[in-house]
């Protein structure tokens, strides 16, 4: 900690150093009387010291009005989210397999490269894939970076060392973790719940601080598990009682999120609903899916329909006739 940053009487600085208080954090973590006892300074001096250090620590960032948002690449989906994904905070996309989570993430990797006036951020993306099946063919269309990891320690070192370097160079303005569930579900059993919670909290905090330091959206993909009996209802009670599946990783992870989206397949195919739209060749055989906002500070609980086709993920505005 840099004592030259703060304007303090040299006598005070000397007393503090002699008391072996090295960092600003320690100065603020000790109470007034404790500091007095350690440094033998007077009450007024200690009070002034703490306030000066506090002013140095709390660098107030300029708060601007409207945040820019990252578009999902489809106007219908963007309007569900009132513009797109925020630049700060962690967004989770949870859903069963083949609901379209990876497709949405890759589309985001594409849209982040658009110019700002089209809702992009004019930069690349980091796509961290933790599962074995990786759609490399799909990825050839995108110019993003990807890493394939197996043990969870690599994930931690990737997030804490390699990703910040990329972010600080400004080349990358989106981080996608696909998926976070895979690592934390198998590695820990139920009795290690505390240890798992600790790791989850630390991981979430790292992502959070990355997001705020570099104004970069973070998207995490999560899996779902069957909602079994009362245990799960208490654990993840977000008013999702009519759901048969709930996002994994419990309330510890849910507390870290800014926005939670859930995607799932419906039993309709596009051909049944909108024969006109389905007649286009790339829409053949598409199953209609739903994207639902479970919670977000600025959105009501709502949902919209979408399909996955050759050219990407496209929202569907019209409702089914039946």
């Amino acid at each position: 900690m840099d004592w030259d940053q703060v304007e303090l009487n040299p006598k005070v600085v000397h007393a503090v150093k002699r008391a072996n208080v090295k960092t600003f954090r320690e100065v603020l973590s000790l109470s007034g009387p404790d500091l007095q006892r350690l440094t033998k300074l007077s009450h007024a001096d200690v009070h002034h010291l703490q306030k000066t250090v506090a002013a140095a620590v709390q660098t107030d960032p300029a708060v601007t009005g409207i945040h820019q948002k990252l578009s999902l690449g489809c106007p219908v989906l963007d309007s569900l989210l009132r513009g797109g994904i925020h630049l700060l905070g962690i967004v989770e996309i949870a859903g069963e397999s083949s609901a379209g989570k990876t497709q949405i993430c890759m589309q985001l990797c594409l849209s982040v490269q658009y110019p700002r006036k089209y809702g992009g951020l004019e930069a690349g993306a980091v796509y961290i894939c933790t599962e074995d099946t990786f759609p490399t063919k799909r990825l050839q269309q995108l110019s993003s970076l990807q890493h394939k990891l197996r043990p969870e320690d690599s994930l931690n070192s990737c997030i804490s060392k390699r990703v910040p370097i990329l972010l600080s160079r400004g080349l990358v303005r989106l981080v996608v973790v696909d998926s976070i569930a895979a690592l934390f579900r198998c590695e820990f059993e139920a009795k290690d719940a505390l240890l798992r919670a600790k790791h989850l909290l630390a991981f979430g905090a790292t992502l959070h601080s990355l997001s705020h330091r570099f104004k970069t959206p973070i998207v995490c993909v999560n899996q779902v598990a069957d909602a079994v009996g009362d245990f799960d209802l208490v654990q993840s009670n977000f008013g999702l009682l009519d759901k048969k599946v709930l996002p994994t990783l419990g309330i510890t992870w849910s507390n870290q999120l800014l926005i939670r989206l859930m995607v799932s397949r419906t039993r309709f195919s596009l051909q049944e609903w909108l024969p006109g739209l389905a007649a286009q060749p790339w829409h053949l055989g598409s199953v209609v899916r739903t994207m639902e906002v479970v919670f977000a500070p600025h959105l009501p609980q709502s949902f919209c329909y979408y399909t996955v086709s050759i050219d990407g993920v496209r929202g569907v505005k019209e409702e089914p006739a039946s």
Binding site: L28, P33, V53, V57, H212, G239, L241, P297
Partner: protein, 365 residues
Amino acid sequence: MMQRDVASFAFAPAVKVRLISAGFLTAKDICDLRPTELSKEAGISQQEALEVLQEVRRGPAEQGAAESRLTALELLEREQALGTVITFCSALDQALGGGIPVGKTTEICGAPGVGKTQLCIQLAVDAQIPGCFGGLGGQAVYIDTEGSFLVERVVDVATAAVQHCTLITKDTEQREALQSFTVETVLSQLFLFRCHDYVELLAQTHLLPDFLSQHPKVRLVVIDSIAFPFRHSFEDLSLRTRLLNGLAQQLTQIASQHSVAVVLTNQMTTRIGQNQSMLVPALGESWGHAATQRLILHWEGKHRFASLYKSPSQREATVPYQITPHGFRDVQLPDPSVTPADPSLTPSLNSRKRPRGEEGDPSDA
């Protein structure tokens, strides 16, 4: 007052020990001395002697709340004059005895998505409602540690509140007050601070008293959330407990000294019981004693409920609420936008008692 023990003053322990072992036992022994004499006799530095004498010589009226005499009636009147910040959900306001009390700390706990941030944003807007509509006409401080404060949502809530006041305006005083109660003024009187970790939060709390002295119109301080920065990176849980206790004390003091309502939000965590698990407020058992009042927001099925869990003056109660595009609202009453012309159906601001003392709102600087 002269018979007061030296040990009962707020001096540093080392100084106290020196004074007592030099034979100074009561205030009377000290107050007639000069600083140089005192420092020589007791073996303390000149500056310490000066501080000791200043403290001892201060009249009883200045020596802090413990010394000043206040009857219970005066205390009651003072509390009622402070007022409350309404939540716009009349059922909850009633359960709280009018709203979130000014001068005290209130904790709001709940699972993610249940509406804690929504309630905080609503309170930050409601604190600014002019006095003639039953509000406090004050400003608000919002300390965001999670990054969940979104300006667009504040605009929604502020627009609805301004519209509501516009609809129930009856006399010229209210019409005039409306001139200075617009969405723009609401945003400009809401001071936002962002803290990214617990050190910044501690720092901000140290700086808060000075800020509040410079902005005496602030009536509400929100910290959303206090749990987030304290739930990771603490290997030493006893350090965490100590820091949280210190923070709670500072905030309680700020609430009463500066006449602000302090609102803290907390997360929920799972506690594993014998054969079941339950959701309990985070930050540990001892944190439960920190705030004066505790409100727990929870789901029951698809509905949201607010339970007053701990309060020195109100009964425990559970009331339903909902989050609408306009903000935090009751459940039974129809949405204000649907019945624009019938103010009697909407959560009435006018029926809120006006601040005591017609001569003026205590918040008028």
